[in-house]
Symmetry: C2
Subunit: 352 residues, 2 copies
DNA sequence: CAGAAAATGATTGACGTCCATCAAATTGCA
DNA sequence: TGCAATTTGATGGACGTCAATCATTTTCTG
């Protein structure tokens, strides 16, 4: 009645424990006939290996790694923070975590990093990826070493990763557009968009999604050509100021990328009624701007959940388990009223 | 360097393994002096018991239970569905789960159920609670039996539960109001509210939050007195129809409670431009209504996440572990563009 | 200071798996 | 048929903890 053990399986299969063990851990030197008998018994008894006991026995340490873009980007700092926090918690369960910072958004840099990294001996790695065939070589190499690879936040080429954990950026852009449309209440308007780089796939996808919804459902709105910002706050500051002072017809601002501190500062300087304002990613700046009423909405991808799921997924992959069907990660909409308490600004409170 | 074992602790404390074991499992018959020596070593070495090994040894089975209101309410069906799904997954880890259906929203019924339930032998229970002193007796009894109790979705009296897992309904109401305010784009309007029962704390809290934000930030909006619906779809249908046909000044509808299928049906019958429309909880009806464009927003409390967290929390409480600081659960805003795939209507897909 | 009570140490067998070793049985092939 | 190769079985020691037993040692009490 309780979960069957491998001994039960062996008995049911009519072989010795040793043989059953050879089969399920495929150690070789087993006759095909025995393999089948054991397999049959496994499915019949619904045996699943007791991972806890197995780990205990072999003193397994899960060696996990994260490859994260280096730099001071607030969003990735938040990611790193979450990784560290979960990692600490996981150390009790024999999980070791290393974070490698790779040169941001450079295909060559990432490719090299993956190659170097491949020399090390990890069980699984979550990579903030890029779409490029030149990653193929290093990734194939990783797989051949038995390293489990997942894409995090930004996907890798589909064929070379076991899973992707992150939002669909088209959906994110659509969501931003939907909210912007609603906030116009049927009135006409013009939306100034800002984009970090037209080479960044997530940025262009958001923009595409945004445009699609506006043209589908809000034809009275005009999506202006995006201003290229390189995610630079000071540049955003200048450009936003210019828009606010010289383009009174603009009824909404939508920043697809980062650098929001500049945008917020520009708005803060403007006494008059401001346009409707949507940005991405809840970080210190955007959070404060919401509270101060300088912006209206933040579309967030919940990096905390993503990081958690990355750990869960990697462990499952490494164990060869399968996971229950997890719901897709969807962009979360924050207004000033449903902000989670800021973990950085509050004392870690007890959990009773 | 790896995690210290109890043997290490014993050695460091200068006592035998047996004594150290007596201390950490408080089996009694230990001198105060030894207790202190062991405690000191525990903190010094940063020992934490290997739960996997412990469970393996004692063949522990976590007996968990959920007390959920009985009935056909779509939201609680969703909750039950999630519980079953997670339970299946957990059975591998020696967790057994029972769901008890209690007569909905009746203090006496709940009180009786808890009392009966107390006779059984569970380790932990998550209860969809009510605020009432008459629950005190049964809950105290549970605690005295060593059963860990948490409130789920709707809280229990604070002193008699170890944790609450659910959203803050004032926040949920505030969020609904914020969105409604934005969707008016500065124009005046009147909002018809619907409430299931003025006795249901969650309903009144949402209403309070809603009213607060409107009066703070959207004075041009008029929150009309709520229509009492008893969460009855056919009643909601009739009332909604009446509002739509006879109150052209109404610019928004906000249903605090359940029974949305009636509301949606009424809107579907109405060819003309409809008011802005916000409801709570993403279930089959509300989901479809979003897709069909019959409503604009769903404020959801993510029962899947709540259920997951309930399991995590109960296990931690039972093990006497403490948890990493978990972020507060915040109401999630859904529009038609950021809906998660419907798990009920899609084949469970593989997770690669 | 003796005798009882309390505290401690030492040890052992689970739990389910991994991994290694060695002997025995079965097969293949010349 | 005989010898080697392959396949099996049996076993034992980890892993870290729980729980129990029994023999000692220490402490308390009259």
């Amino acid at each position: 009645m309780p979960n069957p053990t491998l001994s039960d399986v062996a008995q049911a299969a009519g072989v010795s424990y040793a043989t059953a063990d050879r089969v399920i851990n495929n150690r070789g030197n087993v006759a095909q006939k025995s393999i089948e008998k054991v397999r049959e018994a496994v499915t019949r008894l619904d045996y699943v290996r007791n991972v806890a006991a197995a780990n205990l026995s072999r003193k397994r340490v899960y060696r996990l790694a994260f490859l994260i873009p280096k730099g001071t980007n607030a969003f990735f700092n938040r990611i790193k923070h979450h990784i560290a926090s979960v990692a600490e918690q996981m150390s009790v369960e024999n999980v070791s975590v290393d974070v490698f910072e790779v040169s941001a958004f450079s295909v060559d840099g990432l490719s090299d990093s993956i190659s170097e990294f491949g020399q090390l001996d990890f069980d699984g790695v979550a990579i903030v990826g890029l779409q490029s065939e030149s990653l193929e070589g290093p990734l194939v190499d990783l797989r051949s070493r038995g390293v489990k690879v997942i894409g995090l936040v930004s996907d890798l080429p589909r064929e070379h990763r076991a899973a992707y954990i992150g939002i669909d950026n088209i959906v994110a852009g659509r969501t931003a557009a939907r909210m912007t449309g609603l906030a116009h209440a049927g009135q006409a308007g013009a939306i100034q968009t800002f984009v970090g780089s037209m080479d960044a796939r997530d940025h262009t996808e958001r923009l595409d999604g945004f445009r699609a919804v506006v043209s589908e459902d809000y034809p009275q709105l005009d999506v202006l050509e995006p201003i290229l910002t390189k995610d630079d706050p000071s540049f955003l500051y200048a450009q936003t100021t210019k828009v606010l002072t010289r383009a009174p017809n603009v009824t909404a601002l939508y920043n697809v990328g980062a650098g929001n501190s500049g945008l917020v500062a520009a708005i803060g300087n403007q006494p008059a009624k401001r346009p409707f304002c949507v940005v991405h990613e809840l970080v210190a700046h955007s959070r404060q701007a919401l509270i101060d009423g300088h912006i209206d909405l933040v579309i967030d991808q919940r990096p905390d959940i993503e990081v958690n799921r990355a750990f869960t997924m990697l462990r499952a992959l490494i164990d060869g388990r399968d996971l229950p069907p997890l719901p897709d990660l969807m962009p979360t909409i924050y207004v000033r009223d449903n902000l989670p308490a800021d973990p950085l600004n509050q004392k870690t409170k007890d959990q009773n």
